[in-house]
C-alpha cells in the first residue's frame, strides 16, 4: 500500500486522456488499493487515476462516512443519463474550491470490476454526481471547466500562488 501524489490544477498532466485497461491483473488491483488509500487519506470521496499521474481508465469512490463502501470502476462509461442536479462540488486536485455544478441526476453506468467482469448499475444523487466527476478526469476534464472564466481564473491564480510558496 502506498499514498500517491495528487496533481493540482493547473498542472497540464491533469489534461491527458487516459487509455482503456485491457488486462485486469495484480498490478491494476494494487493500483486500486493505493488509490483508495490515497483517497481516504486526503480525505476525499472519489479519485481518478489521472489525478495521480497514471493515464489508465480506473477510478475509486467511497461516499460512505466510515470507509465501508469502496467502489472501483475500470473503463467506466455512462450509457444513459436523465434529469439535472446541482451540487456544490470540490476536487482533490483543486484544493479548497467548492462551486455548484449541474450534472445529470440519474445515470446508468457500465464498467469492469477488479475480477475483470463487466457490470452495470443505475444510481442517482451524490454517487451519480461523483461518478460523472471522476469519469471527466479520465477524459482530461475538471469541474472548474464548468465554471465561468472569471471564477476559473480566480481559482487558478490562487493555486499558482500556493504552489510558488511551496517551492
Amino acid at each position: 500500500m502506498a499514498i500517491l501524489n495528487i496533481l493540482h490544477f493547473p498542472d497540464p498532466r491533469l489534461r491527458k486522456k487516459a487509455e482503456p485497461i485491457t488486462d485486469v491483473n495484480d498490478k491494476i488491483r494494487q493500483l486500486a488499493d493505493d488509490m483508495l488509500e490515497t483517497m481516504y487519506d486526503a480525505p476525499g470521496i472519489g479519485l481518478a487515476a489521472t489525478q495521480v499521474n497514471i493515464q489508465k481508465r480506473i477510478l475509486v469512490i467511497d461516499i460512505s462516512e466510515d470507509k465501508s463502501d469502496p467502489l472501483v470502476l475500470i473503463n467506466p462509461e455512462i450509457v444513459a443519463a436523465e434529469g439535472e442536479r446541482e451540487f456544490e462540488e470540490g476536487c482533490l486536485s483543486v484544493p479548497e474550491a467548492y462551486e455548484a455544478v449541474i450534472r445529470a441526476d440519474k445515470v446508468k453506468i457500465k464498467a469492469v470490476n477488479l475480477q475483470g467482469e463487466d457490470f452495470e448499475f443505475t444510481t442517482d444523487g451524490l454517487l451519480a454526481t461523483c461518478v460523472q466527476h471522476e469519469i471527466d478526469h479520465l477524459d482530461g476534464k475538471l469541474f472548474v471547466d464548468y465554471l465561468s472564466n472569471l471564477k476559473r481564473q480566480r481559482i487558478k491564480k490562487r493555486l499558482e500562488k500556493h504552489q510558488k510558496q511551496k517551492l
Binding site: A42, P43, G46, G90, C91, P95, H133
Partner: protein
C-alpha cells in the same frame, strides 16, 4: 472528488462551533442549530456530545492544552485550537479508542482546510498520551483547571455557598438528564408513562412534579410518542414546580413577563386553557418559539414582543390575578445544561442583571390585583439575584408578603426557596411567591 463543505464531520463541525462561541460570543444552542442540518444523521449526537463536553470542561482542557503547546494559536486558527481541545476531550473523557481519536482529529483538520496543523495536532495529542499522568496531577494544584470553572464564577460560588460550592461545581460538570412534562389536557402522566414503556423508552415519574417524567437517557423528541401532537414537552422539573406555586384557578388573567421559549406559559395554560394569558418577551425572534410551542400543544395566548418593565408600551390597563417573572439571570444554576455560560458570562453581567431583575419586580408589582400572586424565579444560584433581591423588594414594598409553603419547591431560605445544583436531580433554581395585600 473532495468532500464538499456540507459533508462536515462531527469533529470539524464541533471545532467550528466551539470557535464561534468563543470568538463571537454566540450562544451554543444558536450555533448548534445552524450546524446540525449540515451533518449526517449518524454524526449529530456525537457532534452534540463533543460540543457540550468540551465547553463543560473548557477551563481544564485549556490548561492541559497550554502545557502541551509551545505557543498559543492565533485567532484565525481558533478552529484548530478548538479541534485540539476536542481531541484532548476524546482522549481523557470519552471511550473512543485513542488511535481513532487522534487520527480522526487529525483528519478533521484536513476537512477544515488546515493541512499544516495535522503534524502539530498529532504530536501534541500523542504527547498528552505519554505525559497524561503528570499533566492530570497538576490539576489538583490549580482550582480553575481542577474544577473546570473560570475564576470569577468559582469565587462567586465560594463566597455565596462556602459549604456547598464543591457540590455545585461538581454538579455543573455532569450531563443533565432529560425530563418531560405531560400535557394533562391530553393524557395523564400514568397513561403517557405506559406509552413510553411500550416504545422501550425507559421512564419514571418525576418526584414532586405532578406532570413530570424522568427519562433514562436523552432521546430525540421526534422519537417520543405523540410529541408532535402536543402530548408532552421537554422541561426540567425545576421549571415545572413554578406553576404549582402560582396556584392557577379558572377565569384568571395571567402575565408571563419573560416567557420565551414558552415552557412555563404552556404549562400554565395546560392547567386551565380558558384562562387569558399575556406572554411577553423582549426578543421578537424568541417569541416565535413560544408561538411554535403553543401551536404544537394546541393552546392560545396573547403574545407581545416588549420589554415587560416598560409597561407604557404594552399594558392595556387590566390588572392581573397572577404574574410570573422568570427573570433574565446569570444561569449559574443551569450550567450543566448550558455549559457555554462558563465562556460567555462575565462578572460584570451580574450587576446589570440584578438591576434588570429589580426593574421587572418594581414595574410589574402595581399591575397585580389585591390578593393576587407574583412568582419570581431565576435559574441562578447567586444570592444577589435571588434572596437578596427579594429581601430588598419586600423592604421597598410594604404591601407585599412572601408566602411560605408546606410542600416547599426547594430548600427554604430566609427569603424564598433555593435549589442548588446537585441538591437533587433537577436544575438549580430560585423561587419566591409574593402576595399583594
Amino acid at each position: 472528488m473532495a468532500n464538499n463543505t456540507r459533508s462536515l464531520c462531527a469533529r470539524s463541525a464541533a471545532a467550528l462551533t466551539i470557535a464561534e462561541v468563543q470568538l463571537k460570543h454566540r450562544s451554543l444552542n444558536v450555533v448548534m442549530a445552524a450546524f446540525l442540518p449540515q451533518l449526517n444523521d449518524n454524526e449529530r449526537s456525537f457532534y452534540q456530545q463533543l460540543c457540550y463536553g468540551v465547553l463543560r470542561l473548557h477551563p481544564t482542557l485549556i490548561f492541559l492544552g497550554n502545557q502541551l503547546l509551545k505557543k498559543p494559536f492565533k485567532n484565525k486558527d481558533a478552529d484548530i485550537a478548538a479541534l485540539f481541545l476536542t481531541g484532548l476531550y476524546q482522549l481523557r473523557d470519552l471511550r473512543t479508542p485513542s488511535h481513532a481519536a487522534i487520527s480522526e482529529t487529525v483528519n478533521a483538520a484536513k476537512k477544515l482546510g488546515k493541512q499544516w496543523a495535522t503534524g502539530l495536532l498529532n504530536a501534541c495529542l500523542r504527547n498528552y498520551q505519554r505525559q497524561h499522568t503528570e499533566l492530570e496531577a497538576q490539576l489538583q494544584h490549580n482550582p480553575v483547571a481542577g474544577t473546570a470553572h473560570p475564576e470569577w464564577l468559582l469565587q462567586q460560588y465560594q463566597s455565596d455557598w462556602p459549604d456547598h460550592w464543591q457540590q455545585i461545581t461538581q454538579a455543573n460538570n455532569q450531563q443533565a438528564p432529560m425530563m418531560l412534562r405531560v400535557n394533562r389536557q391530553q393524557a395523564s402522566r400514568e397513561t403517557y408513562l405506559q406509552q413510553l414503556l411500550q416504545q422501550d423508552i425507559g421512564a419514571t415519574a418525576l418526584r414532586d412534579c405532578d406532570d413530570g417524567v424522568l427519562l433514562s437517557k436523552a432521546y430525540d423528541v421526534n422519537a417520543l410518542p405523540n410529541f408532535e401532537t402536543g402530548m408532552a414537552s421537554v422541561q426540567d422539573g425545576a421549571a415545572q414546580l413554578v406553576v404549582k406555586m402560582l396556584d392557577i384557578q379558572p377565569d384568571q388573567h395571567i402575565l408571563d413577563a419573560c416567557a420565551a421559549p414558552g415552557g412555563k406559559s404552556c404549562h400554565i395554560l395546560e392547567q386551565h386553557p380558558d384562562n387569558t394569558l399575556v406572554a411577553l418577551d423582549i426578543s421578537a425572534e424568541r417569541l416565535k418559539q413560544i408561538e411554535q410551542n403553543l401551536s404544537r400543544l394546541q393552546l392560545g395566548a396573547q403574545l407581545k414582543a416588549a420589554d415587560a418593565s416598560d409597561t407604557d408600551a404594552w399594558w392595556d390597563g387590566e390588572l392581573f390575578d397572577r404574574i410570573l417573572i422568570d427573570a433574565p439571570c446569570s444561569g449559574s444554576g443551569v450550567i450543566r445544561r448550558h455549559p457555554d455560560i462558563k465562556l460567555l458570562r462575565r462578572p460584570e453581567d451580574i450587576t446589570s442583571l440584578a438591576h434588570t431583575q429589580q426593574q421587572l419586580l418594581d414595574k410589574l408589582w402595581p399591575l397585580l390585583k389585591a390578593d393576587g400572586l407574583m412568582v419570581y424565579t431565576t435559574c441562578s444560584a447567586f444570592k444577589k439575584e435571588n434572596e437578596q433581591q427579594i429581601e430588598a423588594f419586600l423592604q421597598r414594598h410594604p404591601d407585599a408578603k412572601e408566602l411560605r409553603f408546606e410542600q416547599a419547591p426547594a430548600t427554604a431560605r430566609p427569603y424564598g426557596y433555593q435549589r442548588l445544583p446537585g441538591d437533587d436531580v433537577m436544575d438549580g433554581f430560585y423561587y419566591a411567591c409574593l402576595r399583594r395585600r
